[in-house]
Symmetry: C2
Subunit: 649 residues, 2 copies
Amino acid sequence: MSTEDIKHDDQTAVPARRKFLNTAALAGLAGAGLSVGLSACKQEAAAPAAGAPAGAAPAAHAAGEFGKYEVAPGQLDEYYSFSSGGHSGEVRIYGLPSGRLFKRIPVFNMDCLVGWGITNESKAILGTKADGSLKYHTGDTHHVHQTYVDGMYDCKYMFVNDKIHSRLARIRMDTMECDKITELPNIQGFHGTFPDKRDPVDEKINHTTRVFCGAEFSIPLPNDGNDMNDPTKYHSLFTCVDSESMEVRWQVLIDGNCDLVATSYDGKLAATNQYNTEMGAHYQDMMSSEHDACLFFNIARIEEAVKAGKTRTYGSSKVPVVDGTKAANQDPKTALTCSVPIPKNPHGVNASPDGKYFVCSGKLSPTASVIQHDLVLKWFNGELKEAREAVVAEPEIGLGPLHTGFDNKGNAFTTLFLDSQIVKWNVEAAIQSFKGDKNAKVVLDRVDVQYQPGHGFTSMGETKAPDGKYFLSDNKFSKDRFLPVGPLHPETAQLIDISGDKMKVVADHAVYSEPHDSIIVRRDLVKTRQVYNLDEFPNAVKDAKESGVFRNGNKVTVKMVSQAPSFSLPEFTVKKGDEVTLILTNLDKVEDLTHGFAIPKYDINFLVNPQETKSVTFKVDKLGVYWCYCTNFCHALHLEMRSRMIVEK
Amino acid sequence: MSTEDIKHDDQTAVPARRKFLNTAALAGLAGAGLSVGLSACKQEAAAPAAGAPAGAAPAAHAAGEFGKYEVAPGQLDEYYSFSSGGHSGEVRIYGLPSGRLFKRIPVFNMDCLVGWGITNESKAILGTKADGSLKYHTGDTHHVHQTYVDGMYDCKYMFVNDKIHSRLARIRMDTMECDKITELPNIQGFHGTFPDKRDPVDEKINHTTRVFCGAEFSIPLPNDGNDMNDPTKYHSLFTCVDSESMEVRWQVLIDGNCDLVATSYDGKLAATNQYNTEMGAHYQDMMSSEHDACLFFNIARIEEAVKAGKTRTYGSSKVPVVDGTKAANQDPKTALTCSVPIPKNPHGVNASPDGKYFVCSGKLSPTASVIQHDLVLKWFNGELKEAREAVVAEPEIGLGPLHTGFDNKGNAFTTLFLDSQIVKWNVEAAIQSFKGDKNAKVVLDRVDVQYQPGHGFTSMGETKAPDGKYFLSDNKFSKDRFLPVGPLHPETAQLIDISGDKMKVVADHAVYSEPHDSIIVRRDLVKTRQVYNLDEFPNAVKDAKESGVFRNGNKVTVKMVSQAPSFSLPEFTVKKGDEVTLILTNLDKVEDLTHGFAIPKYDINFLVNPQETKSVTFKVDKLGVYWCYCTNFCHALHLEMRSRMIVEK
């Protein structure tokens, strides 16, 4: 590859910057091949002095130019954006085009506002140690994807992974709360996840029933202290979770490891890109081969093998594991997996909305590989000589291509990490070009983003009905784009209008780390509830008359209700040494009338939404008077909304 | 009071809404006097169907109308807004007018992104139990205020309270990180806080040296199980903390309790509004009196009394407490405190930028009381017959007046919780009217906000140089203003342009609960650092060559550095049963190049900013291989940035 091979159609906007970026990036590539990459260091854009006039920023615009994307007071956004929060451990709901943050959904993190990790109900979902304390307080959410019906969002559930502790969480989308978390056995570095879109065999099941999970790190199986010093014996598993029960159905032993995951619209295939097929344990060993791969899983065959008992288990896990390694799958006609060679270190695989292609990008190669879905199926039927023949295009699109979104006109939009650009290219033109058509216009447009984009995605682009309106670029560095706030910068999610021929960056949304990945969903598809039903909670205190302190030895249950602006027990008495379970039902019925309950010095705070019940359990270890109070402003006399816990000897 | 007494100058905009609001609110007031208030229940604005066209919202605007307030891509905001995050336990940094969230500063909450509550350094600030686990995971931040020099922000420190566990935290503003937390003794419900602005005696000390803290809940002193059932014996203390050492200097025993806190520009007075002077323990007892009060503290006299040893202590606390109760302060000429009667249940006291007045609002009275600073000083000199004579105006401004901000033209802007409005009124006109001038035009404008505002504040309004540009209304309910996201709604911070005669709501910023209180600071005043200095960290690993595993019995220190895209130890070996302290220094020097470090199954994740050092300590209790990885995207080969922890028998 030479620097001339990389075409840049639009270098005029900020020429100095573009020149610098390309030079630096290519210098890295031309070097040892190991020090590749424009890390943040290379780009010496100093933060602006806060006192500099706003107009001095490099890309100043006339006021009002972006009025079209304005969501004025009283107006509503057109789209929801559901976004993973990276190592904040949470999921977030934004509005688009405004970029307003509507909600943080605590998932793997503690959230002392709602009491996530504090209430008994949330602890049961998160999991606890023998002593009742939380098993984990950290998490690293990477990918949020929804359940499907017939290739469209049904907005029933979202799924999100935790890379640190290899957990899959589910969020119910009526209340936008996490309701289940499953820890996957015998894997590390659970990175990519995607629900299936229909059943591979039963045509009547045209909706999501499985969630696929890729494991990025290989480990000894089981990871019990054996084979630790021989990384060639490490393995990785690809996991299938039942979307309803959230139980692990099966796992597949593979060569190499998994990164991102995509699924086909016909339910037959799941795919994962593999960047370290060398199985290197050290950095430099991870890029010794010439190719990596995109690995396809034949779901129907895997489930037949599971059914036929061609399985084993590892350690204490009962999950059946089938063998998907090359050695065990020599004959394509019976193979469980198909490995399609891809240029080095791919970090993304995405299914096109027409169901025809997967696009897989190699971050050390300036290309995007287009893999044709029906050719992979042909390989599984023994009708293809080499799996590589399923690659029908491999356009050079720019440096550091990662993730690809799609519009409704056959175009793909790929993030270029090194170039700090989004590139728009046409899939069919790329296929024609690959066939030899020198007139095929593959790359249609480029736009600079600020800076180093990771994931990018289009409005409705993960369904069969993308609408070609917006692309959101989740960038890893913001540098000089916002007022400085100390060593930890925000990141940026930049909104790009893709409805015309030229892409246009229309908004910089500052994001607390990390805007890892998102989906953009038309607002009319999302149906939420604003008020719970008392009957949803078996322990609900349905009437203020049921309030009181109920003692059973030193186990004490305190039942209480909230109704603005008071709690049903103005005071309650317990004894030092008691184990108290306090149950609070919010009898207020009107939406948005949420109450909080805090107990000073006892480290308790949680919320109860309208008609919701929550409980906490704690040891009473301090004498005295403790003013419990409503922490969520509810009424003009909110400050007076208290209960007094009296702790006697 | 009759309904006719309440003037509404601007009821034309959305007449039905205004009529409804007033009727409902007044119905409450006319009732028992106890069920006052327009709680969220009363206002039956259903959430819009998500599918409704955006234009159908009640106050739709022509696209582009707000271009003036647009912060286009590449432009920078004009102001910082530093905001308490309520029961999320954090502090937030926003840009204005954009409303972009630049940073969450974890303070009393755990934050698994940066490792707050996970690193040894943050645990030392937060405080731990004997077993090394965090003492508290919850907090309720209410008020953020900065240090001053000569009545202006010096942007050195911010202070924020925790109402749940009565702690004061300090944030250093160069790095925007919390560096100290102090738990205040013998109080509960630490609500209001404000730094002083100069020394009351030494004119050379024209900057902040003290932080005053009000306690809202009265408790037995000490709270050790005595006097629990006789609330008349409960007490509240007003606390002074040293702004540099963060040690508690002194406390004052008072009648009633404290709510918000304000300080005078001359350093002589601190003030707190008191809403439950009855000392009622039950809701209905808290509003039996006709008046509550604004209590003033004579700082110089209090410190003389402390110096003279006229103090006592409570329980195990060594903090000297002086007696500020009425009974002990009968003679104004020697009194430590001055109680100015104010209409019922005030919930706000603010100092005017000219240093002349305090404005204190009673939420059960439609009035704002203007208290003249030099008249309070006169009372302390025995020159005023009654403290009430210091009240020089008490205009009727609307229902549920809470907090007041000021512009640079002598106008005050008060949030009206019940009316869901901001009212603009002129302070001097109010004084003239109070004197009998029937032509004085007191109320100048009103604007509806959505809905139920709590705190409100103007740009630079807490300094001697407000600029009269913006007012931000932190609202407690958003109801129908944003796309629905389930039972827990966002709240709103509405930006209002106050530069003209008429106020204009120009942006709805959605906020994760709770936008409790903020300050708006001109950007040129804030000077941050983007890169640390290695020498700031005594345990820094200054060279990759210092890396290694250092064993002392079963105490093991692992030293490591990060430099994109690798950690200096590709692997390290420890033994089951070890207590490992892992120290990581980020040797990358360029701003925004932050690395993360996660250890799977060991519940570790934290960040190291450029040139920063952090450490974690954990028990090694599981055999096997654990792939530590960089969680903060740093480089094209970020995914390859790992270290392997091998745990042997």
